[in-house]
């Protein structure tokens, strides 16, 4: 087991009706002036906006209304939001939404305490030194951003999508009411299931040995995500299934499933190029296509790990004569499951052709300036090969 730090200071407030308490929660920290940040119109349609603003008003919290967060959240909006925070003396940024609204809020919070562009942090040219606190009301189980230290932002001018980690990105609190996800449609639910699974699997398929406890927890998170995912897709108002997905979302990306292991999210890195290039590709749908291709490309370089995955997650009996067969069966079971819940597993299903494989691979490796580490380090050529396998 490798040395590690584990630090998850976000207060998770989980369960039915919890979002109606947001005003008193914010008041308990002593804040009076906040920014309310959210995405499109869904929270207005389903009544969440009204319930949240009523709670804020009841608690005497003054809020600056700032919507417009989009999937693959944009730097331009972040910069505008950060300036508004400065101009109005905002004390906390409250994100109501999924990963896009949360990541956008995290960057606004960092930008509000910085004199330049937050893209300086995305490129790792600078490190944030301060940030406003961020609160979350979660409406989508997927990104894990509600308990993670990361945020991913798209710079449209440069056509680049970049994520980075900072302890300032950990939300102060996250209010997670599974009922708010009842109205999430089948496709978005599927994207979430894939994203949650991948946050755990990317940590699981790392190089480090001798972490049986972390492994067992990771296998549990993935198994229960698979099981709850099936139930939620079938019955969108199954509270316990939605609750398991929501809690798995947080646990899969708060570092728990990677403790003592080296982590480098190769599939995420490759997928960021895909949805960075093709804005119509949802992150979860992109991962659903990339993971099976990546796994088929690399599994022979660590057969025992994929055998363990097949056995512990998919209950596939271990073949002593032909362990490679067991390993591949686990990958195919994952691919079948993704397809079963309605997710694409080939680029053609995303309407993505092969015209930009090289361009995306070059961006991902910074023109060969970095490789994605792992059992098999991936450079431009290997990433193109993976795209080819995913066609």
């Amino acid at each position: 087991m490798l040395n590690f730090e584990f630090f998850t200071p976000t207060k998770m407030i989980f369960g039915k009706d919890t979002h109606k308490r947001v005003g008193e929660v914010i008041k308990s920290y002593g804040f009076h002036k906040i920014m309310l940040h959210y995405g499109g119109g869904s929270i207005q349609k389903n009544g969440v906006y009204e319930q949240v603003t009523a709670s804020l008003k009841d608690a005497g919290i003054d809020y600056l209304d700032f919507g417009g967060a989009e999937p693959n959240p944009k730097l331009e909006l972040v910069e505008k939001g950060a300036q508004l925070c400065k101009d109005h003396g905002v004390e906390l940024v409250l994100a109501v939404g999924g990963g896009s609204a949360i990541d956008s809020a995290k960057e606004i919070a960092v930008g509000a305490c910085y004199d330049g562009s937050t893209w300086d942090f995305s490129t790792k040219a600078k490190t944030p030194r301060a940030a406003l606190p961020v609160g979350v009301i979660l409406t989508l189980s997927a990104s894990g951003s509600e308990m993670s230290a990361s945020a991913v932002i798209t710079n449209e001018k440069l056509g680049l999508k970049r994520g980075y980690n900072s302890e300032f990105h950990r939300p102060l609190f996250s209010i997670c009411n599974p009922e708010l996800t009842f109205t999430v449609n089948k496709f978005q639910t599927g994207c979430g299931i894939v994203d949650i699974s991948m946050h755990t699997l990317e940590r699981y398929f790392s190089k480090s040995p001798d972490t049986p406890l972390t492994d067992a927890i990771a296998e549990s998170v993935v198994r229960q995500t698979i099981a709850a995912g099936r139930r939620a897709i079938k019955n969108p108002e199954d509270y316990d299934a939605r609750a398991d997905l929501m809690w798995a979302s947080s646990l899969s990306h708060n570092d728990l499933t990677g403790c003592g292991r080296e982590t480098f999210m190769a599939c995420h890195q490759i997928e960021h190029e895909l949805s960075g290039k093709y804005d119509f590709v949802a992150h979860g749908a992109g991962l659903s296509v990339i993971f099976p291709a990546w796994a088929k490309y690399v599994y022979k370089h660590n057969v025992p790990r994929f055998v363990q995955f097949a056995n512990k997650v998919w209950d596939i009996p271990v073949s002593q004569e032909n362990p490679e067969e067991t390993a591949l069966a686990g990958i195919l079971a994952t691919e079948r499951y993704f397809a079963e819940i309605g997710m694409p597993v080939r680029l053609s299903q995303l309407n993505v052709g092969d015209e930009a494989f090289y361009e995306m691979a070059e961006k991902c490796t910074e023109s060969g300036g970095r490789t994605l580490p792992g059992w098999l380090p991936l450079n431009t050529k290997e990433i193109v090969d993976i795209f080819e396998l995913a066609k």
Copy 2:
């Protein structure tokens, strides 16, 4: 799944040599004057005391040396420590040790910011309003106190041992180096394995349904504790086994294994009377005796839960005709395991007779003023029955 809050702000710094960084860690928070609190002479014998004080000196941290923490930590020492903190302007209490030193430090930290006796908190007559921060260097994998909100203190004058939870009890940081547990003897290692298992199992055997994710995580923690426990007993210097036990210690008692479930620690409550009455009974050894008796006494009131435990933790096939047999087999497997690692499973092995069963049961129920809740609520009579089964 029930509503829950999950809040674990303790920074965990885990791995080899980490304790040698304690000075810089404390300095990074801006503290200069601390109390160094620890137990008997073991940290002086094994060189840890020297390494820790060297690190403090290197970082320019002024420390007040205050040893003497005992198993079942005493109120008298706490009050003395709290007064010293007040007199000397201590800013942080650093515990070096296991649960006893940590719990003692937590109470000192609370007492340093209170004008009365901290026993007011133990009896729940008062609620703490402030506390000094607590830091931990863990030398024993057992209590989970390094990441928990609880502390247990013994009032010798009243002959009472009482625990309570407070968010002020969460340590600011915990430094966990598994190597520091290499010298823990077989008996103390066994006590730790039982204590870790029980922190998870008491949450697992609660009344609340529909928490498959929490269940699966709890089953993973117990399974890996059992496996790592066997290895650590056999080879005390097996780093990875010691590391799994240490990490399981924290995860088993930071609430993760109980999220969405109602928790009431019946075995702990009963055991506190046992080691409160008989000071020579180690907490883990007491639990090792109480759990099998408790489980045999209550399992018929929730056979499916004990069947799940037998199957998921012990791989015992489920008998459709006679599920009670499966349930009992899981309890007996646990009892055999405790015996295998050298722990007592009967009161007679602890040299405890039946002279005080009624007295201890009455204390536990506050003379019938409270029952221990669960599938089968336990009052004085039932607790006496459990002691009888444990003879």
